[in-house]
């Protein structure tokens, strides 16, 4: 069972989470997503300084059998990446909402945050996906 989606985060339909702190967001993939992907064996991080565009590819996560894009939850610029994932991608499986964060981005348009879901809507969204 996936962990409860924290109330203080916002979520995308592609299963990324964001934590907003002023102009900076920290982002990663949700626990629901890591559970679907199973054990990650490789994470391709974006370069610091990369310009991001909401819904465009930001990073790549790979399990033994799958290669999945991780999308930028907001437009802006990458200011920090979680380099510990390079050697230990399994941190995402262990702590998707915490130590398994992927990147920090300076937001260029804070209105984009309105397009994201809160924890309750995201939980419902996952339940719906599960039925398919």
């Amino acid at each position: 069972m996936a962990k409860t989606n924290p109330k203080n985060l916002k979520y995308t339909k592609e299963h990324e989470w964001v934590k907003v702190e002023g102009e900076i967001v920290t982002m990663g993939i949700t626990d629901y997503a890591q559970e679907l992907l199973t054990s990650l064996v490789f994470v391709e991080l974006p370069k610091v300084g990369k310009k991001t565009e909401q819904t465009k590819t930001l990073a790549v996560v790979e399990s033994v059998k799958s290669v999945s894009d991780v999308y930028a939850p907001v437009s802006g610029e990458v200011i920090e990446v979680n380099t510990s994932l390079t050697k230990k991608p399994e941190i995402v499986n262990e702590d998707a909402f915490g130590a398994g964060w992927i990147a920090k981005i300076i937001i260029s348009n804070s209105k984009e945050l309105d397009k994201l879901m809160d924890a309750d809507s995201y939980t419902k969204f996952c339940q719906k996906e599960e039925k398919h």
Partner: protein
């Protein structure tokens, strides 16, 4: 509508993630590919392989037909032996890789890949017709649907099988089989498999599939037996450098370039021989090799390979190896670059990532 094996509901009950595999609804994984892979290497794994094809060939001319069909020389093959071989089209391209079971003096069973079974069957009939063999001389029957196939693989497989099979498994040699009974059900048990471990391939009436599957899982439980999906089956075979149809082999490739030269016997007649004799003299452009990533990244099927800025090949299979904890794969490269240790670049998304050619297999049971 996807085809289902008799075990489809059993897999769902076990919580398997089911996928479309060549038109079949199959379990890709029950828990997670890495765990399933390692359980098979360390304890034992049970695989539903009912989707694969079985073709029965009987009659006084059955040996002549099989000899003409397959590339390997079956003269002198004993009853109870299993041979790995390929069958080729007239151009020498691989129609399939398969195993041949000599069941009796005038009876053979061919075990084919699932997706190729129908074209294999057509090829058998084509060769039969070319040879002018009558139905009374040789009979060809597709018995795939009546036949269940379970693979029991791993160091504990023999101990587990002994619990429900009284046959003398200790003296059963690699690539040999016995006709025996499991739970009072007639079965063919061969010591073979697709994982590189001690293991068995078990054939019996598909009506009994659920019964045998459940019984094996329950008697094997305290020896660490787990059901294993196709995900781990793929990583297990790749560590052993074994080919998978549609990846390393297809009608586009000759057995000589795909490390199947050893199953081609030029000392007898067979379909595709003339073409392969020419290829043997002329040589071939691309050679199948093993690769290992030097830089970070995982090579995957169809990724392109470069040397000095030129495209020189592509990856046929690539994964993260659970045993070695590194990225490995197989690839076709220009023959002039097929030497061990040759450094190559693999295009992974937008980056050229360094890899090198290594010896196959990656894994060999100690």
């Amino acid at each position: 509508m996807l085809k289902k094996t008799p075990l489809a509901s059993a897999h769902k009950k076990l919580g398997a993630q089911m996928v479309n595999f060549g038109g079949w609804l199959m379990p890709v994984s029950y828990t997670n590919v890495i765990d399933e892979h390692l359980v098979t290497r360390r304890k034992a794994g049970l695989f539903d392989i009912c989707h694969m094809g079985e073709i029965k060939i009987t009659g006084t001319k059955s040996q002549d037909l099989v000899q003409q069909l397959v590339t390997r020389n079956i003269n002198g093959m004993h009853i109870g032996k299993v041979y790995l071989s390929v069958i080729c089209n007239e151009k020498g391209g691989i129609i399939d890789d398969l195993t041949i079971y000599k069941m009796a003096e005038d009876e053979y069973m061919l075990v084919t890949n699932a997706g190729t079974k129908d074209k294999d069957f057509k090829q058998v009939l084509k060769v039969k017709k070319q040879m002018g063999l009558s139905d009374s001389a040789v009979k060809v029957t597709d018995i795939s649907r009546q036949m269940a196939k379970l693979d029991l693989q791993g160091p504990n497989s023999q101990l587990i099988l002994k619990k429900i099979c009284s046959a003398d498994l200790d003296s059963l040699k690699f690539y040999s089989f016995i006709k025996t009974k499991i739970l009072n059900i007639k079965a063919v048990v061969s010591r073979s498999g697709y994982t590189g471990e001690l293991g068995y391939e078990i054939y019996f009436n598909s009506k009994e599939a659920v019964k045998v599957w459940n019984k094996l899982l329950s008697v094997g439980n305290n020896l660490g037996l787990k059901p294993i999906g196709l995900g781990a089956r793929d990583t297990l075979r790749l560590e052993c450098g074994m080919n998978l149809y549609g990846h390393e082999i297809s009608e586009e490739f000759y057995p000589l370039q795909s490390r199947y030269g050893w199953v081609v016997s030029f000392d007898k007649e067979f379909e595709g021989k003339k073409a392969l004799e020419k290829i043997k003299v002329k040589g071939w452009e691309k050679q199948l090799v093993g690769i290992e990533m030097v830089d970070r990244g995982i090579a995957r099927n169809c990724y392109q390979i470069f040397k000095n800025g030129q495209r020189v090949g592509w990856v046929t299979s690539g994964t993260y190896s659970p045993t070695f904890k590194k990225a490995i794969g197989m690839a076709y490269v220009d023959k002039k670059y097929d030497k061990m240790g040759t450094k190559l670049k693999i295009k992974i998304r937008d980056n050229l990532v360094e890899a090198k050619i290594v010896k196959l297999p990656f894994y060999k049971r100690s």
